[in-house]
Amino acid sequence: MKMNGAEIIIKLLEQQGIENIAGIPGGTNLPIYDALYKSSINHILCRHEQGGAFIAQGMSRSTGKVAVCFATSGPGATNLLTAIADAKLDSIPIICITGQVSYEYIGTDAFQEVDTYGLTIPITKQNFIVRSAKELFFIIPEAFRLANDGRPGPVLIDVPKDVQQEIVEFNEWPQMLPEVVVENKIDSSLINWVSQQINKAKRPILYIGGGVLNGNASEQIRKLAKKNNIPVVTTLMGLGCFSCDEPLYLSMLGMHGTRYTNIILHEADLLLAFGVRFDDRATGNVVKFCPEAKIIHVDIDEAEINKLKNVDYSITGDIKAVLEGLLPLVEENNREGWIRLVEKTKAEHPFILPEARDILNPINIIKLVSKLVADDSIVTTDVGQHQMWTAQVYPFKNPRTLLTSGGLGTMGFGLPAAIGAALENPDKQVICFTGDGSILMNIQELATLADLNLNVKIIILNNKHLGLVRQQQELFYGGRYIASKFVTNPDFAAISRGFGIPAYDLSKETDLIETLKMAIAQVGPVLIDIPVRENENVYPMVKPGAPITEMIGGDIYDK
């Protein structure tokens, strides 16, 4: 048969089971779009390439599968960069396929030419430039394998226009690479040693993160924790991997972690760090993190071991395999003394909730919303105070129910990620908590949402500020507020209606709670703008660089 490079790309994507692709066409990827014309793949025309890549992230984060987005050369490719870097830091498997000027023009400053390959080296897991259409038979399946292999991450494939148009004659499609069955064989002596440490420990804690999510190991974590009565703290990326309903759940640690969580960590004599990377937002001053504890680090990426904190013992490998090896060897233990100390610390340093009558307190709004939607609903956030409040109080019970930009902290993530999640999960409710700063960073995707009429509820906690910046200026810069208060505040409800999406401005409603309930119960997209106090802070807070036991605010004695 005879096909051009573009047709081969689309056919190979179909073979990989891709159903949705977000993107924007342009001069150098038009052949790919022409091939898409004949395909069963559903294309989502986003309004900015960054939105397209975050839609792909929303698809991937909510399902664990590889998702794809398209962009043209030059500005199309540069617009992708933030979302690619975001996927790299949170280990999200997406594949970006970019158009490039024809091979003979590369390096000549041709129209819409940029060195996409060079620009994406530091922010992809791997990138490719395709030099002939024949290479696609290898590169496309290889990109899918790589994106999800070991520690997942983004892959970019740059395809010059002439390669898309190059005709290839071939007799049959190359064999699909057989699903590589990863040998999850972990050295049993390592497993033995770790199990002995757990059995010997007096005050163990499980510290779990995104690696548990990517390793689909939350069930095994639950079994291990229950069998040996090990309390569990999670990072931002780990939220949902251990249900907040479990008595052993100690919530999120770190800069905005719960007071008792950070204090109990200080008491641990054994830290089981599973699928985490000792990020500074989680550990605070890493030298002073868990000083009493022996640390066992399990991660699929060997480069994470001893990167920031020298540990006493480590296993490089698949978390699920490690946990399954450990489970029969770990003894049942009720750990009465340790659990009693944990409970006492929880009682002495609880998370301080606002009074219930303070209905426009962001924490109360987030808790109310959580009660109005099903447990399996998917929550996306943007970045800032609303994100931290959501992480602190939203009751996450299942993996992949929180999609948030953890590592890169990208404002503008929430709305397109919600669109991607809703596309792949048509049976679920999707909630996007955002702020008045963040929503404007990808507000154009309201048009995409209107096109698709997806079941996404956008909740803006509107404090007329870059709230987390304002908070840092208040606490650490002597109250010298600069560039954190917006001079004008757009009418978000009017903007939303302008895009064709129903909206409510709670500052104009009399019965706030009833309006919120009604808005969330509506089918299809809705935007809800909620005014909140301008000077509300996220507490507790650990000053950047300080140990996590040194927390500001949120103390019972502050009241």
Binding site: Y117, G118, I121, P122, K125, Q126, N127, I129, L146, D301, E302, A303, I305, N306, K307
Partner: protein, 99 residues
């Protein structure tokens, strides 16, 4: 001869245009210092050998782990036993040409 101040990292890599960028980028963005590079194709030209001269410091273990993660790097070997004069006499390269 055994060196204590430096190590040589020997790499077997796929020989195509982007490989050098990936390796340079790794050193630059993680602030690892690179004291010298020797590089050339081997065999049929599909692979190359690279010899990187690096400081003997605490970062070495992390550098090697990061190099091992790069897709186009096929093999990483660390040497302490090598002749450092090769890195100190680059000017002889052009002198030979003139003669």
């Amino acid at each position: 001869m055994t060196n204590s101040k430096y190590f040589v990292i020997e790499l077997l890599v796929n020989n195509h245009a982007g490989v050098m960028s990936h390796i340079n980028g790794l050193f630059a963005r993680r602030a690892f210092n690179l004291e010298g590079i020797l590089c050339g194709k081997i065999g049929d030209g599909s692979t190359s050998k690279m010899y990187l001269l690096v400081d003997n410091d605490d970062f070495l273990v992390q550098i090697v782990k990061q190099l091992n993660k790069l897709y186009d790097i096929l093999e990483v070997v660390v040497h302490q036993d090598f002749d450092i004069t090769v890195f100190n006499n680059f000017e002889t390269l052009l002198k030979i040409k003139v003669e």
